[in-house]
Structures are given as C-alpha cells and as structure tokens.
C-alpha cells in the first residue's frame, strides 16, 4: 500500500427524486488498499460504488479517480479511461449470454484497448487459469454454474488490467456452496497490488483481508476503522447494533 490517493470523494450526494440515497460521502482510498463496505440494505453502499465509475451519476460533490475528476463535464475519452481502469463485478454477474466465455473476456480488451485477438485470447486463458476454470473457455455462460459465472465476471474485469476493482455484493446471488470458490479468487486478488472496494455481507472475508471496514447507513458513512477495531470495539452505537443483528 502506498500513500498515493487513488480514489477521493467529497460530499457525494445522489438522489432519486425526493429520496436521497447518498447524503454526502467523504472518502479517500490509497493505492493497494482493500476496503470492505458493510451496511443494511438500502443504506446506499451499492449506489456509492456505482458512482465511482459513473454507472450512477452523482447529483452533488466530487468524485476523483486516479487524478481524473468525473462529473457531467468529463470528456468521453476521460470517462472511457476511468472505466477501463476500474473493474466492476456485479451481483448478477451480467455476462453476455450471446458470447462464449472467451469472447466475454476478450471483447473489451479488443474493442477498447485495441489489443490483437491472439494477445487478448492468451491473456484470457491466463486469467481463466487464475480463477480456476481454464477448461470452460469455449462454453456459453448459461452452461456454467453461478460460482463459475462470477469467476468469469472477475476474469473479464481483470482483462482490462484495472488499477481498481469494485465488487457489488459479488456473492449475494450465489448458492451457499459456491460462495467460497468466489471468495477464494477475491482473497488471491487482494494479495496483489490492486485497490479493492468490496460491498459484501461476508464478515469472514472482511476480517481476513480488509485494511479498512466501513459502515453505511441511510446514505451516510457511519464508521470507518480497521477490522480489529470495527468488529471488536466499534465506536458507534449504530455499528454495535448492526453487528449484533448479523452476527
């Protein structure tokens, strides 16, 4: 972990009509840091990480990713650069059903980075090896189990060589026996020099790899602390209540 700040948000607010999903979030993330975001449903944690690559435009405040400020005035080229730099893994995997696993992974490197087909396929095979399913390269997503699909989705995001990986509840749509295989891949990833922000309900994962744990509630950042302090000796009453309810 270096001291360089790679993600910086100030007073980020998001509203859907009269409902304010985020009510001003200030956060700094340094390069290589692993951050786990916790919170009850509807607390705005997914909305927050979606603002980081502008899948969700924010209505106020600033979001700065690796020196690029993203808002309405960001040029298309800059936005593309940010999105290529930020990998995103969805709860529902969102693999492209009409493409094979190989094509799912090579699509973006070829179309966005202009990599050659051969180069990107070699890279895809390497990534599939890393997530443990090299033999599935020429199947279609519908032929894979949920856990395998999510691992492909991680490989697809990694194919762009992202500096930042965002995970939006990556294990919530999975059957319990498949959660571990996905978490193992994420733990492997955490050992490398990738900045990660993970929205999850997996406390074990948070305790094992997180540098910082953050609690969101009702669109506000309630507490941020190291895992030891957060789980054993939280500062806020709300955190205690949250931990009591889920543990």
């Amino acid at each position: 972990m270096s001291d360089e700040v790679i993600i910086e948000t100030k007073g980020v607010k998001v509203n859907f009509g009269d409902f304010w999903a985020l009510k001003g979030i200030d956060m700094e993330v340094r390069r290589g840091e692993i951050i786990v975001v916790l919170g009850p449903s509807g607390s705005g944690k997914s909305t927050f990480i979606r603002t980081l690559n502008r899948l969700q435009p924010h209505s106020a405040g600033t979001v700065c990713i690796d020196g690029i400020n993203i808002d309405d005035d960001t040029t298309v080229a800059d936005l593309k650069k940010v999105r290529a730099e930020v990998g995103f893994v969805f709860q529902q995997f969102n693999l492209f059903p009409h493409l094979t696993i190989m094509e799912n992974i090579t699509l973006a490197p070829m179309k966005v980075k202009g990599m050659s087909k051969r180069e990107s396929e070699a890279k895809a095979l390497e990534l599939l090896g890393r997530v443990g399913i090299p033999e599935q390269a020429y199947k279609y997503p519908s032929e894979l189990s949920g856990g395998q699909q999510q691992r492909v989705a991680i490989a697809r995001a990694l194919a762009m060589d992202p500096k930042i990986m965002l995970f939006d509840e990556p294990t919530s749509a999975l059957d319990p026996e498949m959660i571990k295989e996905v978490l193992d891949v994420m733990i492997d990833l955490a050992r490398e020099d990738v900045t990660m922000i993970v929205v999850t309900h997996e406390m074990g994962f948070a305790k094992e790899v997180a540098d910082r744990v953050i609690l969101f509630d009702e669109g506000l950042l309630i507490e941020e602390n190291t895992p030891d302090v957060f789980f054993d000796n939280p500062e806020h009453e709300r955190t205690k209540l949250f931990l009591q309810q889920i543990l």
Partner: protein
C-alpha cells in the same frame, strides 16, 4: 393390445360408451359391428364412383380417398348410436361426428375437383412462365433471344448451397434434413421433367437440378462435418457467416440478373461482341428488371423486404431510442407514417409519386423501387419489434458493457442488439411471412408476379379458357408451402431459445 388402441382412439373422438348393454368385455364387439356396417356402406360408394366415372387411375385414387372418409364418418356415427355414447357427453360425441362428416365433405368435394374435374394441363403447360416470367420463358423456348437462364441458375445454386450448409450447422441428425430435402428436390425434378405439355428442352433443367441437389448434399456434408469436429461456438460463427452470405446472395441476385451497363459493356469487350449489336440481345445483356416475372419476383421482393428491412429496422429501432433529436424525430416520423399507411398506398406512391419528388429515383425501374419500398415497409415493422426487444434487454447487460469501457455505440451494437435479435427472432420471422404474402400486391401495379401470371393463365390459349381455378389452387399451395416453411423455422428458433437457460444471473 390393438383392440385397446382402437378403443382409445374411438373414445377420444366420440367419448365413452354409456349404454346398459355395453360392458368392458363386449365393448370391442360393438366397435367391430360399427366398422362392419361402415365397410359395407363405403364399399357401395366406392363401386358407385367407379361405375359412374370409369376406372382410370385418378378415379381409383379418388374413390379410395372417398372410401376412407366415408368409412370414418359412418363408423363413428353408427358406433356412437350403438353404444349410446352421446348420453354421457353429448358435446364430445357431436363434435367428433360433425368433424368426421366435414372431413368427408372436404375429401369428396376437393378430391372430385382435383382428381376428376380439374384439367391441370393449364398449369403444366405454363410452369416455366409462372416461375421465371415472360422474357425468360421466351429466351428458353425461342432462338432469337440469348439464353439467360444461367443467371437464375447461379442464384439458385448459391441459395441451395447456403440453405443446406445452414442445416448442417443445426446439429440435428442428418436424416432430418436429407429426407425432406431429397423429397423436395425430387418434386422439383419431377416438375421440370414431366413431359405433359412441354415446350422446352427438359434435359438441361433436370440435369441442373440434379447438380444443385448434389451440390447441396456436398455443402451440407461439409458444414455438418465441420460442426461435428468443432465446438459449439465455431458452429455459431459459421452460422453467422452463412447469414451474412445470404445477404450477399440477395445483392448478387440483383446484380447478376441485371448488371450495370458498365459491366455489360466490359463483358461485351471480353467476349468480342461488336458495339454495333444491341447489347440486350446478346448473352452479355442482363434481364431488365421490368422484364422479371413469376415466382422469382415474389422471392426477390420478399427477400429485399427481409434483408433491406432488417437493416432499416435496426437503424430505425436505435433512432427511435436515440437522444439525438435530429436522429430520433425523423425515425419516429418515418415509422409512424409508413406503418399507418396500407402497403397498396405505398406501392402506388413508389410508382407514381416517388419519381416526381425524388430525382434519383426517376430512372430506376418499377421493380427496383418495389424492392426499396418493401425494404422500408418491412423495416418499419421490424424496427418496432426490435425496439421491444431492446427494451427487454436486462439493464445489467448495458451496465456491464459500459463498466468495461465500451462506448455507448459499441454497447448497442455488440451487446444490446445481439441480445434483442435473439429474443425477437420469432416475431421478426412472422414479419417476414407477412412480407412474403404481401408480394402478391405487386400485381395491382402491373408487375407480372406469380399470382398475376397464374391468374391470367387461362388466357394463354383458347384451350384453357375457363380453367381459372386450377392455377389459383396451385398459387395458394405454393404460397402456403413457403409461409409454412418459414413458420416452422420460427418455431425451431423459439424452441432453440427455450432449451438453453439464458440470462446469466437469473439462471443462478
């Protein structure tokens, strides 16, 4: 065993017996009694027909058909009375008996027309005319015109090769394609060969059809072999290449039938035809579009509707969803205008108004303008179908593509469109079926399409005067065959979509 089968079928048609004298053990005897009475009655009608109409082979076939239909109707009626089946469920019994008698009426009425009354010679004598049109027929049968039929044959060869190659990629058992296809080709060869009322040399078309059949077997075999040794994704690749090639075949057909003048002149130079000759009367001249006719016109116009229509449809569907006002509003206006007018209006529009308002369209021929209008008309319908498909694409798909850094345009073309096409293919095919049938409207603007030619066949010779029903029946049959075939394809696609579990996340 067989008795149970017979009883099962009988009960499903007229219902269970419910009389005091029918028990389980003697149920079948009453069936046999009914059958016996029915056979006697049917035999009488068989003898009656043959004594009235003579004993030619057609009459025997007709009498046999009537025999079967009479047997069914009388047997069901008598048995239901013997067993009092109508006491239990009168609606079922009544429906069964009425259906049987309707079958009897249709078979005896239509069979009598088709096998005894009708004189099919009017169709046989003009079969070339209704397939390729006036000028091509003349070029086949008269010596003062160069034989241009190779132009059509080349299109036919390509089409056959493509279709059979496409069947090779489906992964079905080979006999599922080979048996129907062989029967189809056999029928075509029979039609070309049948020596009744023939006015052209039948050896050439028969040989060429056999050639086309063999070519199809080869391409089918090749693509089947390729798909069986490779993974599924390669078969899908091949399929999309074949789909692209079919677009190419359409443009090739338009080009080869009537090459641009420059190409005609180049050809004349190559073959050493002096410029003093009328190029249209040499083998280098194409067949002018205004001279096209027969079922070829219906096919090419319908194909234009599908091929151009799909292209137009994609553009308009995106246009309608676009946020750019100068793209969105013209698209909406075009779709709403074209869809709200009847096709006949647009055909008249293309013939009479288009040349006046748009200069470049002045010189091109009627049929070419028809191709464009069908493309536009089909495109507007397909655009609306596709729009529905695009709206139903899971928003996660779009987000995933954007999150990977794809531009909005790439997202639309690489992710949203393929997804939308997959889910809407059955509806798109039904638009195609509609376009195929609408091609008959061409006759009102004096294009000699299949329907128009068939309708006028009785006028071709004094001997055929009054035989106007036979060509119309054939027309109906031909249109039905094509439309039915298309609808089978669409059902296949639907089945294919239902078999696999689509949608990634939802499946988990």
């Amino acid at each position: 065993m067989i008795q149970d089968k017979i009883l099962d079928i009988e009960q499903s048609v007229i219902g269970k017996s419910s009389s005091p004298w029918v028990k389980d053990h003697n149920d079948i005897s009453f069936t046999y009694l009914g059958m016996g009475i029915s056979i006697i009655y049917s035999l009488l009608s068989f003898i009656n027909i043959t004594s009235d109409e003579g004993t030619s082979i057609k009459v025997i076939i007709f009498a046999a058909l009537v025999f079967l239909a009479t047997f069914l109707a009388v047997y069901l009626t008598v048995t239901s009375i013997l067993k009092l089946s109508f006491r239990k469920n009168p609606a079922t019994t009544l429906l069964g008996i009425i259906s049987a008698w309707i079958i009897y009426l249709v078979v005896s009425g239509f069979g009598h027309f088709a096998l005894i009354d009708a004189d099919w010679e009017v169709v046989w004598a003009n079969r070339v005319l209704v397939i390729v049109g006036q000028l091509m027929t003349e070029s086949l049968t008269q010596s003062y015109l160069p034989n241009q039929s190779w132009r059509l044959w080349s299109v036919l060869y390509l089409t056959f090769a493509l279709i059979s190659a496409a069947y090779g990629t489906t992964g079905d058992k080979p006999y599922k394609f080979l048996i129907p296809f062989t029967i189809f080709c056999g029928v075509l060869i029979y039609i070309a060969w049948n020596p009744t009322a023939i006015n052209y040399n039948s050896d050439e078309p028969v040989m060429k059809l056999i050639g086309a059949t063999i070519l199809s077997y080869i391409t089918f075999g090749l693509s089947y072999y390729y798909c069986s040794i490779n993974e599924e994704y390669k078969a899908n690749k091949l399929r999309s290449y074949l789909a692209l090639s079919s677009v190419f075949v359409f443009f090739f057909a338009v080009f080869i039938m009537n090459p641009p003048e420059a190409v005609q002149e180049l050809c004349a130079d190559v073959f050493g035809i002096s410029s003093s000759e009328n190029i249209q009367l040499t083998r280098c001249g194409g067949v002018e579009a205004s001279q096209w006719g027969g079922i070829f016109v219906n096919l090419i116009v319908a194909t234009a509707g599908c091929v151009l229509g799909f292209g137009v449809g994609v553009v308009l569907a995106f246009g309608r969803q676009s946020e750019l006002p100068f793209f969105k509003y013209p698209s909406v206006a075009l779709i709403e205008t074209v869809r709200s007018g009847p096709l006949i209006c647009w055909l008249y529009f293309a013939v009479f108004l288009l040349p006046d308002i748009i200069d470049p369209f002045m010189d091109i021929e009627d049929i070419m303008r028809m191709l464009l209008i069908f493309g536009l008309f089909g495109g507007c319908y397909i655009a609306e179908v596709l729009r529905g498909g695009l709206q139903s694409v899971d928003s996660g798909q779009k987000e995933a593509a954007l999150a990977l850094g794809l531009s909005p345009m790439q997202t639309k073309l690489q992710v949203e469109l393929p997804n939308a096409v997959r889910t809407t293919l059955p509806s798109i095919v039904s638009v195609f079926i509609g376009l195929w049938k609408d091609t008959t409207l061409l006759f009102i603007i004096n294009i000699l399409d299949f329907f128009k030619l068939a309708k006028d066949l009785p006028n071709t010779s004094p001997g055929y005067l009054g035989d106007f029903l036979e060509p119309l029946y054939v027309t109906a049959l031909v249109f039905w065959i094509f439309a039915f075939y298309l609808s089978r394809i669409s059902m296949r696609i639907e089945k294919g979509l239902g078999l696999t579990n689509e949608g990634g996340g939802e499946a988990a």
